[in-house]
C-alpha cells in the first residue's frame, strides 16, 4: 500500500557518471521541473508564441488539465467514463453565464472559475450518486448517455445557452482591473502569452494537486477500489464514497478546464465542441499515455494534439510540395487517414503495451503479472 508510485524515482542515477549522465539523470528525475522551466521561458525566447502558436499551446495545456481530470476516474479509480466532455462543457457554460454581459452576475475570473468548478463537481455527484452501483460497462454507457443529454440540452435551451451560437463574449480575466496603468483584461485580449501563462500556471497547480492526491489517503483508496472493490470494502474503505469523490474530483477538474477554454476563446463555442468525439479523444490520450500516470497523461495529450496541429499539417504540405498528389485525392492526403491512424494506434497500444507509453509503476506491474 505504501509503495505508491511517485514522480521522484530512485536517486541512484545521479550518484556516479559523467556530466552528461548526471544531466540526463536530473532531467529524468525532475522532468516536471525541467519542463515547467522550459515552458515558462519559451514565450520569452520563441516570438511565435505571441501569435497563433501561443493560442494552440494554450489549448494543449487546457486539454492536459481535462485529461488529468479524466485520469482520476479512469486511471486511479478504474471507472470507464465516456462523457468527460459534458463536464468540460458544463464548466465552460457555467463560467460564461457567470461572466458574460448578458447575465447579471458578471463575476471576476477567479470567483467565476471557482464557482463553476464547484457546481460542475456537484453535477458530477448528482449523476454519480444513483449510478455508481452499476457495473463497469453500464456506468460507461450512463456517462455516454449523459454526455449526449448535456449536448442536446445545451443546443436546445437557446434562451439560456445561445443554442448553436454559444455564449459570448466571455470577458478575459481581469477585465477592468488596472495594474500600473495598463488594463489587465486588455493585455489578455491582445497578447496570447497572458493566457499561455495562466493555463500553464493552472496546469502546474493541477499537476501538483494530483501528485499530492496520488499519495494521499484518498488517492490510495481510489487505487484500492480499482484493484479490488471487495477487498477494499473489507479493509474499511467505503467504495461508494471513494468512487463518488473520484466522480466529483474528475468533474471539478474538467469544469475548471472548461472555464479556461471559454475564457481563452472568449466564447463557449457551439455545443458540438463538447460531444462524444472530444470525450473519446481525451480518453484515448489518457490510455495511450498510461492510465493513472501523470506524465503519461500529459504525453498522451501532447501526442494527440501534436498529431492534429503539427504533424498532419506538416505532412500534408510536404505531400503537396513533392507533388505526389496532383489530383487532390483524400486517399493520398495525410490528414485523410487521421481516424485510421488513431484507430490503429489504439489497437496496437492495447495489444503490445496496454499499460501505455509512460505507465504508472503499479499499472505496469499489474498488467504484466498475467504473462
Amino acid at each position: 500500500m505504501n509503495t505508491s508510485p511517485t514522480a521522484t524515482g530512485p536517486s541512484d542515477v545521479t550518484d556516479t557518471g559523467s556530466l552528461r549522465d548526471r544531466m540526463l539523470g536530473f532531467v529524468r528525475e525532475r522532468w516536471d521541473f525541467v519542463a515547467l522551466v522550459a515552458l515558462a521561458v519559451a514565450p520569452l525566447v520563441v516570438p511565435a508564441l505571441g501569435g497563433a502558436l501561443g493560442g494552440q499551446v494554450t489549448m494543449l495545456f487546457i486539454y492536459c488539465i481535462l485529461a488529468l481530470g479524466l485520469n482520476v476516474m479512469v486511471g486511479y479509480t478504474g471507472l470507464v467514463h465516456l462523457g468527460i466532455a459534458a463536464f468540460f462543457g458544463i464548466g465552460a457554460y457555467l463560467f460564461a453565464i457567470l461572466t458574460v454581459p448578458m447575465y447579471p452576475f458578471q463575476m471576476r475570473f477567479v470567483t467565476a472559475a471557482a464557482v463553476s468548478a464547484l457546481v460542475t463537481a456537484g453535477v458530477g455527484l448528482t449523476l454519480g450518486a444513483p449510478t455508481l452501483r452499476l457495473r463497469g460497462d453500464y456506468l460507461a454507457i450512463v456517462t455516454l448517455g449523459f454526455g449526449e443529454v448535456v449536448k442536446v440540452t445545451l443546443r436546445n435551451l437557446e434562451q439560456i445557452t445561445g443554442g448553436m451560437k454559444g455564449l459570448n463574449p466571455v470577458p478575459p480575466p481581469g477585465a477592468g482591473l488596472k495594474i500600473g496603468g495598463t488594463d489587465l483584461g486588455l493585455a489578455f485580449a491582445i497578447d496570447p502569452r497572458w493566457f499561455y501563462y495562466l493555463a500553464l500556471l493552472t496546469l502546474a497547480g493541477v499537476v501538483v494537486a494530483m501528485r499530492r492526491l496520488e499519495n494521499s489517503r484518498l488517492g490510495r483508496a481510489w487505487v484500492a477500489v480499482r484493484e479490488d472493490e471487495l477487498a477494499a470494502e473489507a479493509m474499511g474503505v467505503s467504495a461508494t464514497r471513494v468512487k463518488l469523490s473520484a466522480f466529483a474530483m474528475s468533474s471539478a477538474v474538467a469544469g475548471l478546464a472548461g472555464c479556461l477554454y471559454a475564457a481563452s476563446l472568449s466564447t463557449t463555442a457551439d455545443p458540438n465542441a463538447y460531444d462524444f468525439n472530444r470525450s473519446i479523444m481525451v480518453l484515448c490520450a489518457v490510455i495511450l499515455g498510461g492510465l493513472g500516470s501523470i506524465p503519461g497523461t500529459l504525453l498522451g495529450v501532447a501526442l494527440l494534439v501534436g498529431f492534429d496541429t503539427v504533424l498532419a499539417p506538416w505532412a500534408d504540405s510536404a505531400i503537396q510540395q513533392w507533388n505526389i498528389n496532383p489530383s487532390g485525392s483524400s486517399l493520398l492526403s495525410f490528414s485523410g487517414w487521421r481516424l485510421a491512424i488513431f484507430g490503429l494506434a489504439l489497437i496496437l497500444v492495447m495489444r503490445y503495451r496496454p499499460e501505455g507509453l509512460v505507465p504508472s509503476r503499479r499499472m505496469a506491474a499489474e498488467l504484466h503479472e498475467a504473462h
Partner: protein
C-alpha cells in the same frame, strides 16, 4: 387517435430496425462481455456496400418482383460482407486480447470503429449521400387513415423472419447450445469440448450478418447514409440492448421496440430535437432503478 396510432406504427417500424442492430451488440456482449463499439460503423460499411451494389447493378430501374428479389440479394450480400468483416476483426483484434484486462478490448473496439469510419469516409466522401428509393411509396392501408408503405412492410418482412431464425438458431441448434454454454462460462465450455474461439467467431458472424441486413433496410428506409451514421445509430441500438438487458436476445428486441416508440412519440409530442435526450434520460433512469435491464437477469459479482 389516428395520429397517435400512426406515431406508434412509425415507432415500431423504426424500433424493429434498432432491434436488429441491438442484437449484434447483445450477442457479442453476451458471449465475451465486450461493448462492440465498432458495430454501428460496421453497419455503416454495410450501407456503403449496399449503395455501391445498387448503383452497379442499376437497381433503380428495376420494378416489381425484380426489385424485391434484388433487395433479398442485397440483404444476403451485405449480411455476408458484414458478418465476414466482423469475424475478421475478431480474429485480428479481439482474439489476441481474450485474457487481457477488460479495458483493452473495449479500447480496441473504439480503434476499430475509427478505422471503419475512415474507410467509410473514403467510400462515401465527407457529405451525406442519398440512397435511391427502390420501393414504391403507395399506402398499403389506404382508407384506414394510416400510412403504411412498402418500405414499412420491407422492414417487417426482413426483420421478423430473421429474428425468428435467430431464436431458432440459439434455442435449438447445437451451435446455439454452444453459444449459450460459452456465454455462461467459457472455461467450463472449453472443458466439455466446445471450441470456444469458433463459437465466438460464429457469434460475431451472426451479429454481423444481422447488422449487414439492417444496413440494407436502413438505406432503403431512411434513404440517407453518411460515414458518421454509425455512431448515432450504434448508440441507439446499444441503448436498446442495455435497456432490454444486455446479453438477452428477447431483451434486445423489446429494448429496440421501446426505443423506437419513445423516439417516435417524443418527436411527435415534445419535438424532434429533444428525442435523443429523452431516450438517454430514460436509459439512465431505467439503469438506476433496474440495472439488469427490462428482461435481463441480475448477476452477482463474484469474488
Amino acid at each position: 387517435m389516428v395520429f397517435f396510432l400512426q406515431q406508434c406504427l412509425i415507432g415500431l417500424t423504426n424500433g424493429a430496425l434498432v432491434a436488429m442492430v441491438a442484437l449484434g451488440y447483445t450477442m457479442v456482449y453476451g458471449i465475451i462481455r465486450l461493448i462492440n463499439f465498432a458495430h454501428g460503423d460496421l453497419i455503416m460499411l454495410g450501407a456503403c456496400l449496399a449503395l455501391t451494389l445498387v448503383s452497379v447493378l442499376g437497381m433503380a430501374a428495376w420494378t416489381g418482383t425484380a426489385t424485391w428479389l434484388g433487395v433479398a440479394l442485397l440483404v444476403l450480400l451485405c449480411g455476408l460482407f458484414c458478418g465476414g468483416l466482423n469475424v475478421a476483426v475478431d480474429r485480428l483484434v479481439y482474439r489476441p486480447l481474450r485474457n487481457a484486462p477488460k479495458l483493452a478490448p473495449l479500447v480496441s473496439a473504439i480503434g476499430v470503429s475509427f478505422i471503419f469510419m475512415n474507410l467509410g469516409l473514403f467510400w462515401l466522401g465527407p457529405a451525406d449521400r442519398s440512397f435511391p428509393e427502390l420501393l414504391p411509396a403507395t399506402n398499403l392501408l389506404a382508407g384506414e387513415g394510416l400510412q403504411f408503405t412498402a418500405k414499412d412492410l420491407l422492414v417487417i418482412v426482413v426483420v421478423v423472419p430473421l429474428m425468428i431464425a435467430l431464436s431458432v438458431l440459439v434455442k435449438t441448434t447445437r451451435l446455439g447450445k454452444a453459444m449459450r454454454a460459452v456465454s455462461q462460462d467459457p472455461t467450463a465450455a472449453a472443458l466439455v469440448g466446445i471450441d470456444v474461439d469458433r463459437v465466438i467467431a460464429a457469434t460475431f458472424f451472426v451479429g454481423g450478418f444481422l447488422g449487414g441486413a439492417a444496413s440494407v433496410i436502413y438505406g432503403l428506409y431512411i434513404n440517407t447514409i453518411g460515414f458518421q451514421m454509425g455512431f448515432q445509430n450504434g448508440l441507439y441500438a446499444f441503448t436498446a440492448a442495455v435497456l432490454g438487458g444486455i446479453g438477452s436476445i428477447p431483451g434486445a428486441v423489446v429494448g429496440g421496440l421501446v426505443i423506437g416508440l419513445v423516439r417516435a412519440l417524443s418527436s411527435a409530442y415534445v419535438g424532434e430535437r429533444w428525442a435523443g435526450a429523452i431516450v438517454f434520460a430514460i436509459l439512465i433512469v431505467i439503469l438506476v432503478f433496474r440495472p439488469e435491464g427490462l428482461l435481463g437477469r441480475g448477476t452477482k459479482e463474484k469474488v
